[in-house]
């Protein structure tokens, strides 16, 4: 599904990713952990095509296509989804308009016509229950005045509506209380299936108690320095990251 080979990327002339390689197969959940500044968020931003990130070396194929060659919205159409660490507030654009625009864009790509307003409302009202948000959040401006937890639940709502094949969760657990964490995790777990893959980027092991990964990778100094099963997360929780420093070089 996703194949990253020797990826080097920089932000404003600073090299952040220095030879990252990762293979994700359909249905797998990969956790990427690592200390602050290791390049965790950069990975999500590079994969989704955010402006300001330049790739100097390496290749990324997504479902057989050269991902880096696709525009931001094309990547979304192909099934890539990033749950933002800091979802953006957009006053004046209702959550409803935003969600419908996203869903219709994907349908358009699939050769389908727009959903009618009624059909969309029905779907949105149904799905929003699964993230424990009130219906009124559909009418409010996108993320406008939402709490940290509400913003993250709104990300999961988008994910559920768009049904992507690869979801990247960028520190979705940061700033969440335990209830919101469970809602987010339940949302993710409900979407797990044999075809859909996840990359869960997190600083803490806590989220991985709820979303059980198939693989855990440690990102340090811009590359993956250790990979293992879910037990690696526990070890990191107990020992921290410093014991891996030696493996960076």
């Amino acid at each position: 599904m996703l194949s990253i080979k020797d990826l080097h990327a920089s932000v404003e002339e600073t090299n952040i990713l220095k030879g990252l390689s990762l293979e994700v197969k359909p249905g797998e959940v990969h956790a990427i952990m690592g200390p602050n500044g290791s390049g965790k968020s950069t990975l999500g931003n590079v994969l989704t095509g955010r402006e300001g990130y330049s790739v100097s070396q390496g290749e990324v194929t997504f479902n057989g296509k050269d991902l880096l060659d696709l525009g931001i919205e094309e990547r979304a159409h192909e099934g890539l989804f990033l749950a933002f660490q800091y979802p953006v507030e957009i006053p004046g654009v209702s959550n409803m308009e935003f969600l419908k625009a996203a869903v219709d864009a994907k349908r358009h790509h699939q050769g389908l016509s727009d959903l009618s307003a009624v059909e969309f409302m029905k779907t949105a009202r149904d799905v929003i229950k699964h993230v424990s948000l009130d219906q009124s959040f559909l009418k409010r401006g996108v993320n406008e005045g939402f709490s940290g937890g509400e913003k993250k639940r709104n990300e999961i709502l988008q994910m559920m509506l768009l049904e992507p094949s690869l979801c990247i969760l960028d520190e979705t657990d940061s700033g969440l209380d335990i209830d919101a964490l469970q809602v987010v995790a339940n949302g993710v777990n409900a979407m797990r299936n044999d075809d859909r893959s996840f990359i869960v980027v997190t600083h803490y092991q806590r989220l991985l108690d709820y979303i059980i990964p198939d693989y855990v990778h440690v990102l340090s100094g811009g590359r993956i320095v250790k990979s293992g099963g879910k037990e690696l997360a526990k070890e990191l929780e107990a020992r921290g990251y410093s014991w891996l420093e030696g493996e960076v070089a």
Binding site: T48, G49, R50, E51, G71, I72, E73, R75, A76, H77, F81, L82, F84, P87, V88, I90, P91, G92, V93, S94, M96, E97, F98, K100, A101, A102, D104, A105, K106, H109, D114, G141, V142, Q158, L162
Partner: protein, 434 residues
């Protein structure tokens, strides 16, 4: 005196007007001819050159014209409707007037007394030169006079239509609204034109007097073809606990300037003023607002937003003057500008002048481009860049549009403003107007 001033006086001489307006006309003419012509060195006109107007050939009054109905979309509402075409009343297109609404020429003795008491008295003609000109030219006009404690059941909709004429020509528009104690009314002024290339000059002036506890919703919509010259003003006196809720929108043109002057003269008066300007191409638009807090316990909330495209220019000057006696004033002024082109230019100048010591005031102005983070967010969800830009631009003004109280105005403006951003309905299909 410039040729333009001279021609303007000749235009006044060429008018027929009711005798009882002669004093005001003479006074206006006197001020007009003795005033120094504004230049770029005149602070109030610093950014807005009058040269194009001055060089225009405005020596005649516009003639009435027919056939405009098919080219002007009116606001669809149940209202008392007065239509003026090139400044000339169109009785066919207008509705029957209730006793509270009258044209100056048809005023009863009592209504003449109201007009004489207030017309030209709210506006400071020393400061507003084109208001002096409006006085010199006053002949036709609309009075809305609501007696004590009454509420006008229907909004008053004054539609001013401009059409191009064989030679460049001038139109004058004048409205006076006087709401007695506790009276309420909605006044919608709509300046529209046919889509043809305009060659006229419109000078418009509205005066509003809200006596104790009176409440008014006032709309001023300036959506005319981009070659028109339009100088306008809205001037209001608010007495004790009066409430004025104002909304204004302007597309740019060759020369367009609107002044708002609101005087808080009675304690507890409240102003809520919102404005939107949307110049594009090489258009120009200038909003000057001046709020005078003369007495204690008054409130002002003023929000203006502009989106500037292409090589357009805008000026926003918002002054709030809090006099020494105006303790416990609450005043907020915000002006935000979105530039969608790197060739667009805006001059914004919020000014708070505070001479009282126990007040709460805030003001701010921003000039920015489309938020890249928000753009990326939308694109990352699969929305095309073009559609995302339009959704974000519309969202920027939609925040104000959502607060428009009169549903007919909101319904009218929503789709028309959206179409300013794109002609392609595909790109507008996710914009909702509620």
């Amino acid at each position: 005196m410039t040729d333009f001033q001279q021609h303007a006086l000749q235009l006044a001489d060429a008018q027929s007007s009711p005798d009882w307006l002669n004093d005001l006309r003479a006074q206006g003419a006197q001020q007009w001819q003795s005033a120094a012509w504004p230049t770029r060195r005149t602070e109030l006109w610093k950014y807005t050159p009058l040269v194009p107007l001055q060089n225009g050939d405005f020596k005649r009054w516009a003639e009435p014209a027919g056939g405009w109905q098919d080219h002007i979309e009116q606001i669809d509402l149940d209202a008392t409707r007065l239509v003026f075409v090139n400044g000339v009343f169109d009785p066919e297109a207008s509705s029957e007037l209730p006793p509270e609404v009258v044209r100056f020429g048809d005023a009863s003795a009592e209504q003449k007394a109201v007009i004489s008491e207030h017309l030209g008295k709210v506006v400071d003609t020393e400061r507003h030169l084109f208001a002096a000109l409006s006085n010199a030219w006053v002949a036709e006009g609309v009075l809305v006079h609501v007696p004590r404690g009454q509420r006008l059941p229907k909004p008053v909709y004054v539609l001013h239509v401009s059409t191009p004429t064989a030679e460049p020509a001038t139109a004058n528009s004048r409205v006076l609204a006087v709401l007695e104690d506790g009276a309420e009314a909605t006044l919608i002024e709509h300046y529209a034109s046919t889509a043809d290339e305009q060659n006229g000059f419109v000078n418009s002036l509205t005066e509003v007097v809200l006596k104790d506890n009176a409440g008014m919703q006032h709309y001023r919509i300036n959506m005319e073809e981009e070659n028109i010259f339009h100088l306008g003003g809205v001037h209001a006196d608010l007495y004790r606990s009066a409430r004025l809720r104002g909304f204004t929108i302007a597309q740019g043109s060759r020369l367009k300037r609107v002044d708002y002057q609101v005087n808080h003269k009675g304690e507890g008066a409240d102003l809520n003023l919102q404005g939107i300007y949307l110049p594009r191409n090489s258009q120009y638009v200038d909003y000057h607002t001046n709020i005078e807090h003369c007495v204690p316990h008054c409130t002002t909330k003023e929000v203006f937003r502009g989106i500037l495209a292409d090589k357009s220019r805008a000026v926003f000057n918002g002054r709030i003057h809090i006099h020494q006696d105006a303790q416990k004033t609450l005043a907020e002024l915000s002006n935000k500008n979105l530039l969608t082109s790197n060739k667009a230019e805006v001059d914004t100048k919020p000014e708070l002048e505070i001479y009282a010591d126990d007040v709460k005031c805030a003001h701010g102005a921003t000039v920015s481009q489309i938020n890249k983070g928000a753009l990326f967010y939308l694109q990352s969800r699969g929305v095309s860049r073009k559609e995302a830009e339009i959704m974000l631009s519309f969202g920027f003004i939609n925040e104000l549009l959502q607060e428009v109280q009169e549903p007919a105005v909101q319904n009218y403006l929503g789709p028309r403003l959206a179409r300013l951003f794109s002609r392609d309905n595909e790109l507008l299909r996710h914009i909702s107007y509620e």
